[in-house]
């Protein structure tokens, strides 16, 4: 059972409270269905969907309104409903990391999270980390060390690497391996990544 009492934002419904209303004993009786139905009805005013609903996402420091069905992943909302296509759709099931974004500063797979779950949280996509005209230290370092070929996995690595540097300004090679362990590349561009991240770390300290 989740220990986090925090309710998903945008919802008046807490799973823990729902389970509490049923009670452990009720599970053994014929009351379960009735009680559960009542709970669902009570919560219904806060349940959204199954049709499209309007949500507001905080993306790269800006509020963006978007209309999505509750089943739409954050990745699909970013790519199809908005125009943040830096996060890539590759495996679409939380393996390859090409869709990595930051949620409240923590790296997360946007393919494995619903858009409605992200409401009220701070979303940072690769586009929020730098632009071609104003590259971040890590982006510059990736280019310098040629840690990319076709480039399709690169945004995910940039986001994962940024998350590492945000929390660990002095990463070791092992730290880098671990931090990038959730991302995959097919062209084989790992070689440049350790030096890219180490040198970005140095550059960031130099600039501070």
């Amino acid at each position: 059972m989740p220990t986090d009492e925090k309710k998903p934002p945008g919802s008046g419904f807490s799973r823990r409270n729902f389970l509490k209303t049923i009670g452990a004993g009720a599970a053994a009786t014929g009351l379960v269905r009735e009680v559960a139905d009542t709970a669902v009805v009570e919560a219904a005013s806060d349940v959204q969907g199954p049709g499209e609903i309007s949500i507001t996402l905080n993306i790269n420091g800006k509020s963006e309104k978007v209309s999505v069905e509750p089943r739409v992943t954050l990745l699909d909302a970013l790519r199809n409903r908005l125009d943040h296509t830096g996060s890539k759709k590759v495996c679409d099931r939380g393996t390859c990391g090409a869709c990595t974004i930051l949620i409240d500063g923590q790296p997360a797979y946007s393919c494995s999270m619903l858009a409605v779950e992200a409401e009220g949280r701070k979303i940072t996509t690769v586009e929020g980390l730098g632009t071609p005209e104003q590259l971040s230290a890590l982006q510059e370092s990736f280019i310098e060390h040629d840690a990319q070929q076709c480039g399709f996995c690169t945004p995910g690595f940039i986001v994962a690497g940024t998350a590492l540097l945000n929390t660990n300004p002095n990463p070791t090679a092992d730290d880098v391996n671990e931090a990038l362990g959730g991302n995959l590349c097919r062209c084989g561009t790992y070689s440049g990544m350790v030096p890219a991240i180490m040198e970005a770390a140095k550059a960031m300290k130099g600039g501070a």
Binding site: E69, R71, V72, D76, R79, N80, D83, H84, T85, G86, S87, K88, K89, V90, C91, D92, R93, T95, C96, A98, T125, V126, E127, L129, G130, T131, P132, E133, L135, Q139, F142, I143, E144, D146, Q148, Q149, C150, G151, F152, C153, T154, P155, I158, V176, N177, E178, L180, G181, N183, L184, C185, R186, C187, G188, T189, Y190, S191, G192, M193
Partner: protein, 708 residues
Amino acid sequence: MAKSAWPAMGDRTVLGSRVSRLDGPIKTTGAAKYAYDQKLDGMLYGRFLIAPYAHGKIKSIDVSAAEAMKGVEVVQIIRNVGDEFLYAGDAIAALAATSEELAVDALDAIKVEYEILEHQMDDTTVDNVSGRVRTSEDGDVAAGFAEADIVHEGHYGVSPITHCCLESHGQVCEFKDGELWVWPSTQNVSGYADGLTKSSGLEASKIHVDCQVMGGGFGSKFGADQWGNVCTELAKAAGKPVKLMLERDQELMTAGARPSAHADVKVGLKKDGTITAWESNAWGSGGTGGAGRLQLPYVFGAIPNSKVGQGTIRTNRGSQRAWRAPGHPQSCLITMSALEDAAAEAGIDPLEFFKKNLDKLDVRLPNAENVYIEELDIAADLIGYKDKAHPRGDKTSGPIKRGLGMSMHTWGGAGHPSNADVVINPDGSVAVNCATQDLGTGARTALSIVVAETLGIPMDSVQANIGNNTLPPDNPSGGSTTIGGISSSSRDAATNALNAMFAKVASGLGVAADQLEARGGNVQEIGKPDNSMTWKKACALLGSNPIKGTGAKPTSDGTKLDNSQVGGCQMADVSVDIETGVVTINEMVAVQDIGTIINLKCAESQVHGALIMGVTYALYEEAIYDPITGKMLNADMEFYRLAGHADVGKLTVHMMQTEEHYSRGVIGLGEPPVISPGAAISNAVANAIGVRVPTLPLTPDRVLAALA
């Protein structure tokens, strides 16, 4: 007068240096728009319904419920009643809807009854070979084996793998004003439109193709394919733009695979290690397609007294496609493993053994024997062969066994036919135009380097335009032909543009046009910097119109700027846990033969990438099909495994780039370094644990089975 021949090695400015790729900024920031990222107003999302069985016929198909759904704009039946399909993942129907979610719902609403037919999945046994067996024989095989002191026999195999491009196959397209605009993910910008003429009903000249970046091809993205055509038909029927990119499972089942290869091999050796005979009976499966051609024995093709046969097994898997160095990695694994096993039986050090038999090479590389000796020696030094080598089977105590292995390869890599033009503007800026594509090679950067070198100007004055079929046509990127092709055509075009410019500005310097050179940002009398003008000033003399030079491969002055044929060798240092069967790469060393290098940074990346891809196919990736249901069991990226960051060990790359190498001309680099890793790693594992793990990938179960 400027000539198109490459400058002397000591006289280069930017050519062959380490240049960061020009599209780095758009790729690292997510600003790069791939086909998958295109989003047009009113665009529909296309999806395929795919066959859930490996072989069958359509008994009935009812799309009415899908068609009736609001927002589902077109439904297309691809396999109708009575139609047969040959593999799980084959397309049955397609549709386009206003959202991806709706498209998924609509697919669920299509009702299909299938008649399930028999399928054939097993490609590991020779009994399933059907059709013609290709054979050839040289010398006297019986006598060759009679002469041998040791006759080694073994079985070697390479499992099927897929391309697994991170950007799946597909395109976005839109009909507008009677013409078609297409954004595909392709290795063939210039030839793509030709594949869409039927489905669009348009001439190729009315089909506009744009592909500025693409997310991996590796040999699988040469044509418009079924998905390109279906996307076009959906867009035509709907009267709206459509995006149709393959889902990951379909991508892995249908969009390309490397054929499997198996062989029973017999090798005859004298006690001193001299190879006397070779016999191999090989087979493989390319799914519903052919299995490609193996080259056995690989590299050592001049082994006297040899007999080889190759058959094909047709299986109900998606058809094979060219996979980086088609046929070579499989041929290399079979040959180098069998030879090293034979050497181990004879108790001969493999390095000494391979060197001893270099008189049996059959490669088109000039002076090959010496090339391989030099490369083997460099690799041995880099990996610390002297200190680490031991006879087969690590005799130290404990469960972790360490071993070394090696392999050699060869590749052609001549440049492909190519066209380019170079425009010099009166303001001094320069554009190079070529309808090539960038698969991650750094094509854009290579063009800029060549033109900046030729015109003696900084790279940031040169704009490289690629990826659009309105530009001068270039051939598809396959067989490591791109850099040789585009460096020739762009050098030729820049040379011609420069000579046209010299003709216009020569009077300003008081000398004949053929007495000028462009160097260090100036146009000057040859060898006389005192009589010069700046590039900008020279360009200003052009008047108000730019000048253009066209170029091609072959070049207009007949100079050959590319070449072909390289060697290369690799060594692997591995540790194997004999209790778990897990193989760990300690180090891979690649010594790569190459001609003129355009961009050392991207060239090295190609070799690193090939090593990593090699580690992946040697240890992890395999398309696993269930023999009972005929379905691919790992059509996702969790179980279709690619090597991760921590899996690849230390990689050491040594590029052969002496004056002699430089003077050969440009030779492609994409394929050669991906050939040897499987064989080198397999040999290292055998050296570590004392037995051969016969089939790639060397997964823990296979390692433990070999040890049992």
